[in-house]
């Protein structure tokens, strides 16, 4: 080994690193498959993208549940319109669709369809009670660029 200036390990290192990378890719893809199989689809989410609900919102949903025969979901969706491009729309739904993401908090479920989700990642849904109105509102939306003062319309980034 006196002639070669590089040790055996150094010469084989590139091959090892490629192999290690391949293995880790295999490992992560298989674990992702396992995760998807274990958990029900679209019911878990990385916290940065999650849509949160305030306590007031959760409380109001529980009040509404009490009056309903079946469990209702709060659906947040995006519509084109309003003074800033898009506006939020709240509705009560009986079930989630295949392309929905469900965010559960304290037994209350908020559901967002996959297209709308891009516009509301990380947002917070609140229920405000004022003299002039009591309504669900998106109180903060990091995915929105600007917004209407009344918080019903916003510009997408």
């Amino acid at each position: 080994m006196t002639t070669s200036s590089r040790s055996l390990i150094q010469r084989f290192a590139p091959y090892f690193s490629v192999r290690i990378r391949q293995n880790s890719r295999l490992l992560s893809s298989s674990s992702a498959v396992q995760e998807a199989q274990l958990s029900s689809p679209e019911s878990t989410s990385p916290s940065a993208d999650a849509v949160h609900m305030t306590d007031s919102c959760v409380r109001r949903m529980k009040e509404l549940q009490a009056d309903e025969a079946s469990d209702k979901l709060l659906r947040l969706s995006i519509e084109a319109g309003g003074c800033s491009g898009f506006q939020y729309n709240f509705s009560l739904d009986d079930k989630a669709n295949d392309d929905d993401r469900i965010f559960e908090q304290d037994g209350v479920k908020l559901v967002v369809d996959s297209i709308s989700l891009d516009f509301v990642k990380g947002a917070t849904v609140d229920y405000v009670e004022e003299l002039i109105r009591s309504a669900f509102q998106v109180s903060a939306n990091p995915s929105a660029l600007g917004g209407c003062g009344c918080k019903s319309s916003f510009m997408a980034k």
Partner: protein
């Protein structure tokens, strides 16, 4: 004989009566403020006495005060109350309104757009 500045639907009047009884206050006072995406938005507060320049409107057995600054913007408005599961709110059907925000909260009137040009009006 002045035409009614503000009119109320039965539902709105009922809700106002309920709010005043609940809190044992004398009046609701309607105002406007510059904000929102399209000029002005409505404000509603409790009031215990009529201010010197407030306009007192009575409709369907209920009294409402109108802030003098708001008066020219709300003449002829009909106030209604919507109550469904997702929201309950007072809405204002204003014939002076030239444009409206998607949520209906902000509106513009000819006088408000002129006021905006002049740079007057209180900004909150």
């Amino acid at each position: 004989m002045r035409k009614q500045v503000l009119s109320l639907t039965g539902t709105a009047a009922g809700r106002i009566r309920q709010l005043l009884e609940q809190r044992q206050r004398s009046f609701l006072k309607l105002g406007v403020k510059a904000r929102g995406c399209n000029g002005l938005s409505y404000t509603l507060n409790y009031a215990d006495e009529k201010g010197k320049f407030d306009e007192l409107v009575e409709d369907k057995g209920v009294k409402i005060l109108i802030d003098p600054k708001a008066l020219m913007h709300v003449i002829g408005t009909k106030m209604d109350f919507i109550d469904d599961k997702l929201r309950s709110e007072f809405i204002f059907i204003n014939p002076n309104s030239a444009g409206q925000c998607g949520c209906g909260e902000s509106f513009m009137t000819m006088s408000s757009s002129e006021a905006a040009k002049r740079g007057s009006g209180s900004r909150t």
